[in-house]
């Protein structure tokens, strides 16, 4: 038949095309030298430009809260488990001057770039200067708090805080966080880039920068639509005795790009992924049902360390939501155990285990407020009767007999929303809506596309439109400025009316008392005073309920398959300082890469 001949030709043509599309390169990665990840990289890598936020290069370039990435290094490493910073590029701890306006630290002599030139204080200074010159997010985010960063000599860096009128630093907390949250870029390379971009900000940020010079242990090896592979730089300075004294174990770090969580989970089950950073629902089934050599940081629920607080915000301009009774009633009626069991498949601590506050469940932050002082304000949810009583007491009752309560003659009717396709949030929002029905408040749900959602929520210079009465957003995870920064973003009125508010307090909450406390905390150094202030903020938060946390979520999910590699960090693994479950590419988590062992060497 002529037609089947045609098909064969078509097939051959197709294959030919595949060959021509595929660049000729190396072979298969040796399994015993490669550590596979999932959940970090969605979509293909776009670029390698450390100044840009558009690289879509989560492991090598994009700075998360804990900053350090595998390709670029910060002066200090933050460990979310103990809240301490440890020197990386820096040599020894940094010091504040007596006036608490300047930070000084030295750069390790051994530190050098991938082109073998040493890392100097000038690189640190120029990195900052470039951020400011081109108004990158880093520059814009810190320029109000950092006056300048200068190189006193080749190895000494001085960070000068911006001073307020009284001569004290505006915000020493942010200044001090800079050293562990912003990586250093080579001055020489930056100058090459600037010349290439003709000193134009847009062109500079749009450069894919494949020639970038880095100081970290890994760099890009291969990337396409289906994967990105990083290879270890065996000339990495970190093997110097002044740092780790050795190289990280895997030669390759590889991240296959999956279409969705399901594909990622399948690969994890198949042993094609060693470290999974994605949300694997019902993760315990992987070992209980499937008997796979898979484990999480904690052996039992919640399986990981919660570090962020996905939160439902109230739009305080919506009818009735300016009333604290309504806000609190909804918040206490919500069935949190179901959210945690169903939306998070138990991968969150419950509010009985970790009572609600403004702190994440790590021991460090939990110690920062007085639990007993606010115990009677904390709620664990499912308090339908309490909520009803609260509303009745406030005179918010059903006057027209339709089953829904009215305030000032107007029914309480809200839309609860979160981005479409964010499965765990959507499941949580459904539970919130169900709580409304039980207490006589009509809450429907609605899930706009993320592109719409984020535009609406972040462009908050205008009041939030209809349909954004109760909406979910994240709050900060662990970091050197926490919990202050998280509290600021939840409660501070300074963000109201910003053109593009990516920070927080999207509901428009304003409380001068809270503002004053937030303003004061960064300059306070006395532990007891701090604790008192934080406790007061928690009290305000739990009393006014401008938003309410729905669950605890880990900074990164951390599920590992031990069919090839073992000795991943786990709770009580004996490491000191403890290696946090941060998928081993961020912050102190990278230390985990040095401890890996092969199951079958």
């Amino acid at each position: 038949m002529k037609f089947s001949r045609l098909a064969v030709i078509g097939l051959l043509l197709g294959l030919l095309m595949a060959i021509s599309v595929a660049p000729a390169a190396a072979q298969e990665l040796p399994r015993n030298e490669t550590l596979y990840f999932n959940g970090q990289q969605w979509g293909s890598v776009v670029g390698w430009n450390p100044y840009s936020s558009n690289n879509n290069n989560a492991m090598a370039i994009t700075q998360a809260d804990s900053a350090r990435v595998i390709m670029f290094e910060t002066p200090y490493l933050y460990n979310m488990l103990d809240g301490q910073v440890y020197p990386l590029l820096a040599d020894g701890p940094y010091t504040w001057n007596d006036a608490h306006t300047e930070i000084t630290f030295k750069i390790k002599a051994a530190a050098h770039w991938s082109d073998d030139t040493p890392v100097t204080a000038h690189d640190v200074a120029y990195t900052w200067a470039t951020h400011v010159k081109y108004m990158t997010p880093t520059g814009a985010g810190n320029v109000d708090y950092i006056e300048d960063i200068v190189a006193a000599d080749d190895s000494t860096v001085v960070i000068k805080a911006k001073l307020s009128d009284d001569g004290t630093a505006v915000n020493p907390l942010i200044v001090q966080a800079y050293v562990s949250t912003n990586y250093v870029i080579q001055k020489a390379w930056t100058e090459t880039l600037e010349a290439r971009a003709n000193f134009d900000a847009t062109a500079l940020l749009a450069d894919t920068a494949e020639d970038v010079v880095y100081s970290g242990p890994y760099h890009g090896y291969f990337w396409d639509e289906s994967k990105v592979i990083y290879i270890r730089d065996d000339n990495y300075w970190g093997q110097d005795a002044s740092m780790w004294g050795k190289l990280p174990v895997p030669k390759y770090l590889a991240h296959n790009i999956f279409a969705d969580n399901a594909a990622g989970t399948t690969a994890l089950k198949a042993g094609e992924v060693d470290v999974s950073q994605q949300f694997n629902s019902n993760v315990q089934d992987l070992w209980l049902v499937d008997g796979l050599p898979i484990s999480t940081y904690l052996p039992e629920a919640p399986y990981g360390i919660g570090a962020s607080l996905p939160t439902a915000f109230y739009n305080l301009n919506s009818h009735g939501l300016d009333n604290v009774a309504v806000r609190k009633a909804i918040a206490i009626a919500v069935d949190y155990p179901t959210i945690i069991a169903n939306a998070m498949t138990n991968q969150s601590a419950t509010f009985e285990q970790v009572p609600r506050s403004l702190m994440n469940p790590t021991a460090g932050e939990q110690a920062m407020y007085d639990h007993a002082a606010v115990a009677d304000l904390q709620w664990a949810g499912n308090d339908i009767e309490g909520a009803k009583a609260l509303l009745d007491e406030a005179g918010i009752v059903d006057t027209d007999g339709d089953g829904w309560r009215e305030l000032d003659g107007q029914p309480l009717r809200y839309v609860a929303t979160c981005p479409n396709g964010w499965s765990d949030w959507q499941a949580a929002i459904e539970v919130v809506a169900a709580a409304g029905a039980q207490i006589g408040i009509d809450i429907t749900t609605n899930y706009p596309e993320w592109s719409v959602y984020q535009t609406v929520v972040t462009k908050s210079d205008a009041p939030l439109p209809e349909g954004y009465d109760i909406f979910m957003m994240w709050s900060d995870g662990a970091g050197p400025t926490q919990p202050w920064s998280r509290i600021r973003k939840l409660l501070s009125s300074e963000f109201i009316g910003m053109t593009s508010n990516w920070n927080g307090n999207w509901g428009g909450y304003s409380n001068p008392e809270a503002d004053a406390l937030i303003q004061a905390i960064p300059t306070v150094t006395d532990e007891a005073q701090l604790k008192e202030m934080y406790t007061e903020l928690v009290r305000i938060y739990l009393t006014d309920v401008p938003s309410f946390t729905l669950m605890y979520r880990p900074q990164s999910f951390h599920t590992v398959n031990e069919s090839v590699w073992t000795n991943f960090p786990y709770d009580g693994d004996g490491t000191n300082p403890p290696v946090p479950p941060l998928d081993m590419t961020d912050g102190w988590g990278i230390a985990g890469l040095y401890n890996l062992e092969l199951v079958n060497p």
Partner: protein, 417 residues
């Protein structure tokens, strides 16, 4: 009419298709009368409960009549379930690695094994080659072994309201049994629960109803548009025909699913109701009907009976309705059936892409599938959360298509044997 129905029902295909469809439709109508619970109610805390009968544990302990059954091997079965051969082998492996002589461990003798185990096991010891997953496994196993060989009953105690001291309330013997039908609180989940903890069967029935409505609305919209355009284009001819044909060709070439994606995306999720989606599907899928109707009308418009009707002084509108439409009615009905089934498929396809309707009041088959897949039901082996959905979609479209081919054979005698 009766003759016509007789003809139609003489087709085996039509009968089978009709039976399946009628069954689905009846289920959709009758089921909610029996299970009155709202379909979207979260009924389980914890997701993907597997199909089965769930009996309230509290009630079965305290309040049901309890029976003593003297069954042989009840204890053995319990031990075998909690400590199977693999577990025993693993225990032996641990003990041997911990330095015990291999021959001193008898995995068959449960009591001896447990004794050695309890004497030696220490969760903090890290043995060579043992992964964290292994360690967790042994810890879980160790916990499960508690009270494994106990022969006495379990004591139920209640804390005293004032002192908090535990007060014995009852003892449940190992020989106590309850009849699950006598336990007042039990619930059957024939298809388990889904990722939201909803009863899959109840949700499925409601979703089927909504999907049928979507299909019906989409089919109606597509058929009405297709019919009107086809009639006008075929009968009037000329410029109008050219214009309609141009648009039709355009819609034929551009994959309608792509148009559908573009439109639904542009509408935005918050404004996509089930009916909106249905209408949009209808708006993008009228092309085939238009083509078929137009071709039929062109072959009809110069027929003598049409000419005769004109000669009898009938108006164009009347001729279209009385002399053309009845002749193509069977095609239109068949096209409608196909449109309904493709409407249901289109909704499901859109939902898989996350472009499905905003149905927080009611589910659709596509959304159920979408959620099942987002929560990885297919990867985790939770077949009840996605397979029945696929099956129902296939059965609906299959039955509709069977009916359509049955009709086709009745109306198109050339296809008969």
């Amino acid at each position: 009419m009766r003759y016509m129905l007789g003809q139609i029902f003489s087709s085996v295909r039509f009968r089978i298709g009709f039976s399946i469809f009628a069954f689905i439709l009846l289920t959709v109508l009758i089921y909610p009368l029996i299970i009155t619970e709202p379909p979207l109610k979260t009924i389980s805390r914890g997701t993907f409960l597997s199909p089965g009968i769930y009996v309230n544990v509290y009630d079965s302990i305290g309040f049901s009549p309890q029976y003593t059954l003297l069954l042989d091997g009840a204890a053995e079965r319990r031990i075998a379930a909690k400590l199977n051969a693999d577990d025993r082998a693993s225990m032996k492996e641990w003990l041997v690695k911990a330095g015990l002589p291999e021959e001193s461990i008898d995995t068959q003798d449960t009591a001896a094994l447990l004794e050695v185990w309890h004497a030696n096991f220490d969760p903090t010891i890290r043995l060579p080659g043992m992964t964290n997953a292994d360690r967790n496994y042994y810890i879980r196993l160790n916990t499960a072994l508690d009270g494994l060989l106990a022969t006495e009953g379990a004591t139920i105690a209640v804390p005293d309201a004032t002192t908090g001291a535990l007060k014995e309330q009852a003892v449940v013997d190992q020989t106590s049994y309850v009849n699950i039908y006598e336990v007042p609180n039990s619930r059957v989940f024939p298809l388990g629960t889904d990722n939201f903890g909803r009863d899959v069967l109840t949700e499925l029935v409601a979703a089927t109803g909504v999907s049928l409505i979507i299909g019906f609305v989409a089919g109606t919209v597509a058929t009405v548009i297709g019919l009107l355009l086809g009639l006008i284009s075929g009968f009037l001819g000329g410029f109008v025909d050219d214009a309609i044909i141009f648009v039709t060709n355009l819609f034929t070439v551009i994959p309608s699913f792509i148009i559908l994606i573009l439109i639904t995306f542009s509408i935005g999720q918050d404004k996509r109701g089930a009916i909106t989606i249905a209408v949009v599907i209808g708006l993008t899928s009228w092309v085939w009907t238009t083509r078929a109707v137009r071709a039929q009308v062109i072959s009809l418009r110069n027929r003598d009976h049409v000419n005769l009707s004109r000669l009898s002084g009938h108006s164009t509108a009347y001729i279209l309705m009385a002399d053309i439409f009845p002749y193509i009615a069977s095609y239109v009905v068949m096209a409608f059936i196909l449109q309904v089934s493709s409407g249901i498929l289109a909704e499901a396809g859109l939902s898989i892409l996350g472009l499905g309707p905003r149905t927080t009041e009611v589910p659709t088959l596509g959304l159920m599938m979408n959620w099942g897949m987002i929560y990885q039901a297919h990867i985790l082996g939770k077949w009840w959360a996605y397979f029945p959905v696929i099956l129902v979609i296939a059965l609906i479209t299959f039955s509709l298509n069977l009916m359509q081919t049955g009709l086709d054979r009745v109306f198109n005698p050339t296809l008969r044997e």
